[in-house]
């Protein structure tokens, strides 16, 4: 690949992810509104929120690490987007592989932990402790699932995994070949989104949105951007692992939005688990399902 072409792809992929992510945020809020029999926000509401937050006139910083933490939280996902192949663009997905992607998806939580630490707000500290515990809970089933898929495909290269699934049409999709792993992956994905019933670290009524409690202006705006990337990354990773990626953009976006609609629709029907319940649940059912699925693959 020509270097110029690669640079354009590396710039375009996070940009596309951001735009699609904003639409995913909109979809999430519209689904919540429909479930609560409301009308919901207008189409450009996520954009209004982000522009408004970045145009606040006082920016309350708590220090250098606070600034760096937000940059890490956004940067981790921006780097992750370049490793997620989309129709027509692969970026550095062939060289990076799925293990690098998993590492990059952990960076935002750690960056947030750094940034929130300097805010010295007890609610923020409790929130970030819970966020890291939740990461421990959902990462184990997620790693088992990804190992299973990579073993079945015989490669850790995401482009090859998609190619294997697209080879025989619908029947070679990961979800058809490995349904048990797909279910375990869906639960792990739901937990990694941090939505109810796994919303232990935001918990607005209990710890005042946890990590976001001291964020204002562009810091909160950065976290809103991060949320767009988070929704995009999680659903596109699931589509790439189990639903054969996308051959066209229409195909690809339809699958990503549908996959995201499942946990989001479940989310607004349930209250929240406690931290220890989340750990018990995540380490029992998805791990068990994941191990059974891996046993089938082996």
């Amino acid at each position: 690949m020509a270097p110029m072409e690669l640079i354009i792809e590396l710039l375009l992929m996070p940009l596309v992810a951001f735009v699609v992510g904003m639409m995913m945020v909109l979809m999430m809020r519209r689904i919540a509104a429909k479930l609560q029999r409301r009308i919901g926000p207008p189409f450009f509401q996520p954009l209004y929120d982000i522009v408004k937050l970045h145009s606040k006139q006082t920016q309350i910083s708590h220090g250098l690490i606070h600034d760096i933490g937000i940059v890490m939280a956004m940067g981790g996902y921006i780097a992750a987007e370049t490793l997620l192949p989309v129709p027509g663009m692969t970026g550095i997905a062939e060289k990076g592989g799925i293990i690098t992607l998993l590492y990059l998806m952990m960076i935002p939580s750690l960056g947030l932990a750094l940034g929130v630490g300097q805010c010295a707000n007890p609610n923020g500290s409790i929130g970030i402790a819970r966020a890291l515990t939740a990461m421990l809970a959902y990462d184990i089933p997620l790693v088992i699932v990804i190992f299973g898929v990579a073993y079945a495909a015989g490669t850790t290269n995401l482009v090859d995994i998609i190619a294997v699934q697209q080879a025989g049409g619908f029947e070679t999709w990961g979800a058809v070949q490995m349904p048990v792993l797909a279910i375990a992956g869906l639960i792990a994905m739901h937990a990694s989104l941090g939505k109810q019933p796994f919303e232990i670290y935001i918990a607005p009524a209990e710890i005042a949105t946890g990590p976001m409690v001291e964020m204002s202006g562009k810091y909160l705006g950065g976290l809103f951007v991060m949320q767009c990337f988070q929704l995009y990354t999680t659903s596109v990773l699931y589509v790439s692992l189990f639903l054969g990626g996308g051959t066209t953009w229409f195909d690809f976006l339809l699958k990503s939005f549908l996959v995201l609609a499942i946990p989001v629709s479940i989310a607004y029907l349930f209250p929240r688990y406690r931290t220890e319940d989340l750990l018990r649940l995540m380490w029992k059912w998805p791990v068990m399902l994941g191990l059974i699925g891996v046993a089938f693959v082996l």
Partner: protein, 237 residues
Amino acid sequence: MSSIKQIPVITERKGNPLARVFDEFVRFCRSRSLFILHYCTGCGAIELPPAMTSRFDMERLGIQPMVSPRQADILLITGYVSIKTLKRVILTYEQMGSPKYVIGICSCTVNGGMYWQSYATAKKLDEYMPVDLYIAGCMPRPEAVLAGLQKLMDRIHSGEANSWEDYFRNYDYYLGNQQKLFGENWQTPTDIITEAKHYDLIDEGTFGKHTQLLEQHQKPLEALDMRLGHDLKEPTE
């Protein structure tokens, strides 16, 4: 003292036409995305849940509740403010990021309402902080709350809703009223004068005899001790 009384003079800005378009866009986004912090002081708070939920649905106007003052744009004071509560309201207001707007709901925030003769109630909210909008009524229905919020949105869009600058420009007046109520030792953890200097919002009314009084006894801000289980002290009771 609030800027509502002043007749707004919209000066034609010279320079880059693109910058004007950008300013217009930012103002539009500000008016269409408002995070409210509802400080539920009195009975008016009961009218907010119906305004937020399925019957009237605030979110279609881009208004949604937030839980901490740092994240919020609008401070809703929903009822009478006792003197002890007013201290918390002022602390909350000073922590919010500008541009910030204050809405007083119910007649108690306008003139004390039925608490007019109470010794423990602050009567007029706009003596202690600049108020953008009052929604009178005892209590106003959710329709009235939404109509008031839409009016605020129009004011933000046209650039008139900048009474938050008034708090910096006339800090002496507001501080004087606060000192009259809370005593001369009143001090908030937020340093308004330094903030006004930093954002270039110093005016004639920023300094005066009340700010001089504040400077005499003002204790410098200290970082919080980062350990568990130490006694939390009340801020300057």
